[in-house]
């Protein structure tokens, strides 16, 4: 009985033929309500759009208002395969490292000397390449310094197409994340990258060689003025070549940037100012 009543109540709620009400409202009532909300939401959306517009107007085109999160720039390695930070291959198995070489090829493409010479400026080394705007007059576009592939020498892939992977002496390229306005190093003491094995693997890492020498990143590549002002900016790179790393074993390596004015990244961020990865070279001999 009660169930029946409920059922017919529902039916009547859905469509009440007496009052011609659908879901408790007549057509005109629904119309009014829709009209009301249409106006209401239009106004709201208008207000939202307006505030967003005003907010966007306040933004600088070339420099973010705040860089709260970017005090320590991240470090990233190349090559990177399958989204992991492991470089594992077998020396004798070409297929296993061919991908790495290709990635590096691709990555270093824009650094070809010819391209650099064509697009970028030859800067005076060892000092910041500062191109200030003079008041209202924007000094745009800004020029960028050349970073020639040849600087990487045996890791440039020019002499050795396989970046040492075939010989079991792989190159890893490290780049510092771009952060606008960052001036690493103090008193023109250029920042440099060092790599070391983690705790147990110290004896396995063997000899390293850095390109450019000492893993230095030249000051002339800083500051960065943003992708809009400095379209052809070439991010400086450091290559590390592992000369006699222990084969057939996992070697955990951490590289970090050394510069006095770059704070050491927080415990939780494993990629701020440093980068860790695993290197394993299998060898059938």
């Amino acid at each position: 009985m009660a169930k029946d009543g409920e059922k017919s109540d529902w039916k009547e709620f859905l469509w009440n033929p007496r009052t011609r009400e659908f879901l408790g409202r007549t057509a005109s009532s629904w119309g009014l309500i829709f009209l009301f909300y249409l106006i209401f939401y239009t106004c709201l959306a208008g207000m939202f759009a307006l505030t967003m517009y005003v907010m966007l107007q306040t933004l600088d085109e070339h420099r973010p208002t705040w860089q709260d999160r970017l005090s320590t720039p991240g470090l990233v390695i190349r090559p990177r395969a399958d989204d992991t930070f492991e470089i594992v291959y077998t020396k004798e198995d070409t297929e296993s490292w061919d991908l790495y070489a290709q990635t590096l090829d691709k990555f270093l493409q824009p650094y070809n000397d010819s391209l650099q010479a064509q697009k970028n400026h030859e800067c005076a080394p060892d000092k910041y390449f500062i191109q200030e705007d003079s008041g209202e007059v924007k000094n745009n576009p800004k020029r960028s310094c050349q970073f020639n592939r040849t600087v990487l020498q045996s890791c440039s892939g020019i002499d050795d197409r396989y970046y040492g992977y075939r010989e079991g002496q792989p190159c890893i390229i490290i780049k510092l994340n771009r952060v606008i306005g960052l001036l690493p190093g103090k008193d023109n003491q250029a920042p440099y990258v060092t790599c070391a094995a983690k705790k147990d693997d110290a004896d396995k890492i063997g000899e390293l060689i850095y390109f450019p020498p000492n893993g230095t990143i030249n000051s002339m590549y800083f500051p960065y003025y943003g992708k809009k002002a400095q379209v052809n900016y070439s991010q400086p790179l450091v290559a590390v070549k592992f000369l006699n790393i222990t084969h057939n074993e996992d070697v955990n390596i951490e590289c970090k940037i050394n510069a006095e004015n770059i704070p050491v990244g927080g415990e939780r961020d494993k990629f701020a100012g440093r980068v860790s990865f695993k290197l394993r070279i299998n060898s059938k001999n």
Binding site: L44, L59, P64, R69, G74, D83, F85
Partner: protein, 961 residues
């Protein structure tokens, strides 16, 4: 009696044999009231944990656990958020469950108090010997003896009695002591004189009787089982909250499921979609609400708000439960005595000589005495030993004449004949105060007609006049008038005995009455009533204006009931019953048009013959109803009938006999002082001062709290939209998540709790006692307008505020709005450490994560700011906030301050980023949502203005909640 002996195989003088008694004891069990089989405690607790919302939260917690388990299985130990979330959710459920359980626990121990009514010891005759045994070992057929002061140990058929009187007020509501004697006077066991009931008190006299019922089979046991058999009606507020919770739970599932499907359709993995479902549930369910409501709003007073009918017991609730002299008739005039509790009323002219004589008779012919050592206590409150009418007379003379005890000493009592049912009078003979006057004074009081018979003269203005026809007639009129007021009338007369015939030392014999008992001099009539409490008429009036109907339901006589009802305004001036109309028009009762009669008095006997339809009909036709002589079952029937008519019924009562009705009522109100424990336990609410007027105050407060609860819920619901929309946008547009689950829980359970509680302290907007009681079918706690306005208007504005602030924070840190759209996949890629922002800067995953936390915090702050505007607009539903005043609710102001402080603490306390995902945000971002807060305030002022200016308009209908 022989029949009795046969039936119970007992003997009237020897009692049962102990061995047989033992057998019966084994058969019938102990003479105790058994507690009803309750649901086990753990089941009750479990039920608290398994409500609609609670189940949802369990599901959400389980999903969190699964998600955490899977993450753990993948070896990803970085994120404990899911685990936190699960734990917090479970804590919330358990804590709210404990609150609910505690609330329920407080209101369930019903039979426990019936137990206290059982007498400890009883004097029983077994094997011809008197024994003192535990009352719970009594069995049917036992012969027991009771004396004044005892509790009756079981239902007893009286065999012999000497002036035995019992107080049945807790059982039937009659305030006068009832005589108990062996004769059967009525078929109904409740009415008959020869049965004394279990748990009633024997006031005076001695009686022996055979036990006819023990334990649960006694009348009181039956009432107890009736009370526990009646389902505990949920209070209207509980129904409202349940209704609301159902809707919320339903919507949460609906939203969750819709977006689960949408997410699956878009191409998210099953687990991800499940997490979305969980997040939407968490965002949408107002977790803090249940706790808020339980803590601050379920004071039982809330339940009375929707009362539309009050069924009030008479004795002790409407009246003082104390016989008091109401009227006197002497010198051919009716004089009204002061019946107020504190003697603040007008007194009558006491200069007449007749009054002095009348007062003397009243003072002397009275056996009641004050208990000693009560000098400091006001006279009406002193404890008196004696029956109700003598008590009334004693107090009356004490108040009008002065020290009665002393007075009595001056007139030394020589002899007295106590009241008995054959004589129907009481007399005593005294020496006179003046030692030189050697006459004796005979004073007599009793049933007026019997007294008049014995009188030959009447005292008028101090003169003894012959009692002729004319005087008889005026006596009759006065007697009828006073009787018609429902008062108990006593006649008083006296006689100076001739000193020649009755010299000093004359031996008066009370048995053969060797003194004149006729030819006396009539002094006057005194009538007594249990008067209404002073505050009651006003309170009844207030109920009227508030649209609440007051129905009197009493166990007392119809005439008394009607008189009191008329007195307190339950039957208003000018209203007539069918019988009154018949009398006025001099036509038979059947010819009267029933709809003309506003008032109606129905006695228990009539009620028994009525079908429930007829009762409904009567309740509908007569707005002013009085039920008299009703049994507990009938009280229940009346309550049910009112409920059938769609009323929310409050029942007030104090006696055991009221407890079933109290339990059945939507709101049972028991008397705190006079109330029996059984009544108190059956009730939802206890009036500490026993004052009917407090119910009205309760209704007023309840209505206020109902309104405020509405405001509080509106406030709480609003923020669910800005909590929900981030997820919807996140799922559909794939922006980085603007608001995390843990942050949502902080809003729900920390910062927003205080403002929502503080709304309980809001003052009323208008005279709420001039409004009709709400219609429980139409005026829900949470109605469509409230939900729609909160969700789709204020909630929408808040969402916009949140997103504005979110996009601002993102853009100022380098992520422009258009870049954000569709960014989710890369943004959340743990392996991607050099994601470019709009400026070409590269971000590691952690940097992005902290940026996301910043967004959470920014969104949180936006909701906070908007909720401050929200709580300000919720202060009123109709008046402008300026009319209500911003600072009058101090609690609310401090709640806002506290909320802001808490918000700041969460944002800027060190360590927060890694524990609760709050980041110290830039101060500027606190101000981004401020324009939206102002918009909310201004918009609501416009809404209220429209509602006030155009009542009944489309605007009013759609936007007034």
């Amino acid at each position: 009696i022989e029949e009795l002996e046969m039936r119970y195989t007992t003997s009237v003088d020897k009692g049962l044999t102990s061995s047989f008694a033992r057998e019966v004891l084994e058969r019938d069990g102990l003479n105790e009231l058994k507690p009803p089989k309750g649901t086990p405690e753990y089941v009750k607790f479990a039920r608290q944990l398994a409500g609609g919302l609670q189940c949802l939260m369990w599901v959400a917690a389980v999903i969190c656990f699964i998600a955490f388990g899977i993450e753990l299985g993948r070896g990803n130990l970085t994120s404990f958020d899911d685990l936190y979330l699960a734990i917090v959710l479970i804590t919330v459920v358990v804590v709210t469950g404990c609150f609910g359980y505690y609330q329920e626990f407080k209101s369930t121990n019903i039979i426990a108090s019936f137990k206290n009514l059982v007498p400890q010891q009883a004097l029983v005759i077994r094997d011809g010997q008197k024994n003192q045994i535990n009352a719970n070992e009594l069995v049917v057929g036992d012969l027991v003896e009771i004396k004044g002061g005892d509790r009756v140990p079981a239902d007893i058929r009286i065999i012999t009695s000497q002036g035995c009187k019992v107080d049945n007020s807790s059982l039937t509501g009659e305030s006068e002591p009832q005589t108990r004697s062996p004769e059967c006077t009525h078929e109904n066991p409740l009415e008959t004189r020869n049965v004394a009931f279990f748990s009633t008190t024997c006031l005076e006299g001695v009686a022996t009787g055979v036990i006819i019922n023990t334990g649960d089979r006694t009348i009181i046991g039956r009432i107890a089982s009736l009370a526990s058999g009646v389902g505990n009606e949920k209070t209207p507020i509980a129904i409202e909250i349940e209704h609301f919770v159902d809707i919320i739970a339903g919507l949460a599932i609906f939203f969750g499921f819709t977006f689960f499907v949408v997410a699956m359709f878009i191409g998210y993995a099953f687990l991800e979609a499940m997490i979305f479902f969980m997040a939407i549930v968490v965002a949408y369910v107002p977790e803090g609400l249940l706790a808020t409501v339980t803590v601050s709003f379920t004071s039982t007073i809330t339940s009375v708000c929707s009362t539309s009918v009050i069924c009030s017991d008479k004795t002790g609730t409407l009246t003082q439960n104390r016989m008091t002299v109401a009227h006197l008739w002497f010198d051919n005039h009716v004089h009204a005595a002061d019946t107020t509790e504190d003697q603040s009323g007008q007194s009558f002219d006491q200069s007449s000589e007749t009054w002095r004589s009348l007062a003397r008779v009243a003072a002397l012919c009275n056996r009641a005495i004050f208990k000693p050592d009560q000098e400091g206590i006001p006279i009406p409150k002193r404890i008196v030993v004696g029956d109700a009418s003598e008590t009334a007379l004693l107090k009356f003379t004490e108040l009008t004449v002065g020290n009665t005890m002393d007075y009595r000493n001056r007139f030394k009592k020589i002899v007295e004949v106590p009241f008995n049912s054959t004589n129907k009078f009481q007399l005593s003979i005294h020496e006179l105060e003046d030692p030189l006057d050697l006459r004796y004074l005979l004073v007599m009081k009793g049933a007026p007609e019997r007294i008049l018979e014995r009188c030959s003269t009447i005292l008028v203005k101090g003169q003894e006049l012959p009692l002729d026809e004319q005087w008889s007639e005026s006596f009759q009129t006065a007697y009828m008038d006073l009787g018609g007021l429902g008062e108990r009338v006593l006649g008083f007369c006296h006689l100076y005995l001739n000193e020649k015939e009755f010299p000093r030392g004359y031996q008066f014999e009370t048995d053969d009455m060797n003194f004149p008992t006729s030819g006396l001099c009539f002094a006057g009539l005194i009538s007594m009533i249990d008067p209404p409490r002073a505050t009651v008429p006003d309170a009844v009036m207030k109920c009227r204006t508030a649209g609440i109907r007051v129905i009197m339901v009493t166990g007392d006589h119809p005439i008394t009931a009607k008189a009191i009802a008329a007195n307190v305004g339950i039957i208003s001036e000018g209203s007539e019953t069918v019988e009154d109309i018949a009398q006025r028009k001099r036509i038979p009762v059947e010819q009267v048009n029933k709809s003309e009669a506003r008032a109606c008095v129905i006695s228990g006997g009539q009620l028994k013959d009525m079908s429930s339809d007829e009762l409904d009909e009567a309740l509908r036709n007569h707005p002013e109803m009085v039920f008299a002589r009703t049994s507990p079952q009938q009280k229940l029937i009346i309550v049910e009938s009112c409920q059938r008519l769609g009323s929310i019924v409050a029942v007030t009562g104090d006696g055991v006999n009221d407890s079933p009705a109290l339990k059945k009522a939507d709101i049972g109100v028991a008397m705190g002082i006079a109330g029996s424990d059984a009544a108190k336990n059956a009730a939802d609410m206890i009036l500490l001062d026993d004052n009917f007027a407090s119910i009205v105050t309760g209704v007023e407060q309840g209505r206020l709290i109902f309104d405020n609860l509405k405001k509080s819920i509106a406030y709480t619901l609003t923020k669910n939209i800005p909590e929900l929309t981030p997820y919807l946008v996140y799922i559909t547009v794939s922006v980085p998540l603007p608001l995390g689950c843990i942050t949502i829980l902080f809003i729900e359970l920390a910062t927003d709790i205080f403002p929502s509680v503080s709304l309980a302290y809001e003052k009323a907007e208008s005279d709420i006692m001039h409004l009709k009681p709400r219609n429980p079918r139409r005026d829900r706690l949470v109605n469509e307008a409230l939900a729609v306005y909160s969700y789709f208007q204020i909630g929408a504005i808040q969402s916009y505020a949140g997103f504005t602030d979110y996009f601002t924070a993102m853009a100022q840190e380098g992520w422009f709005p258009l870049l954000c759209v569709g960014l989710r996949g890369q943004w959340e890629d743990v392996k991607l450490q050099d994601l470019q922002d709009s400026y070409g800067q590269e971000w590691t995953y952690s940097q992005r994560l902290y940026q996301e936390y910043t967004c959470y915090t920014v969104f949180f702050v936006s909701i906070e700011i908007c909720q401050i505007a929200d709580v300000l607009i919720r202060k009123t539903r109709r008046l402008s906030a300026f009319q209500q005043g911003f600072f009058r609710n101090r609690v609310l102001v401090s709640a806002i301050v506290f909320q802001l402080c808490l918000g700041n603490l969460l944002c800027y306390c060190p360590g927060m980023p890694n524990i609760f995902n709050f980041m110290p945000i830039r101060v500027q971002w606190w101000f981004v949502p401020v324009p939206f807060g102002i918009l909310i305030f201004v918009y609501d002022e416009i809404r209220k203005l429209g509602v006030r200016r155009h009542p009944g308009s489309w605007w009013d209908q759609e936007l007034y909640y």
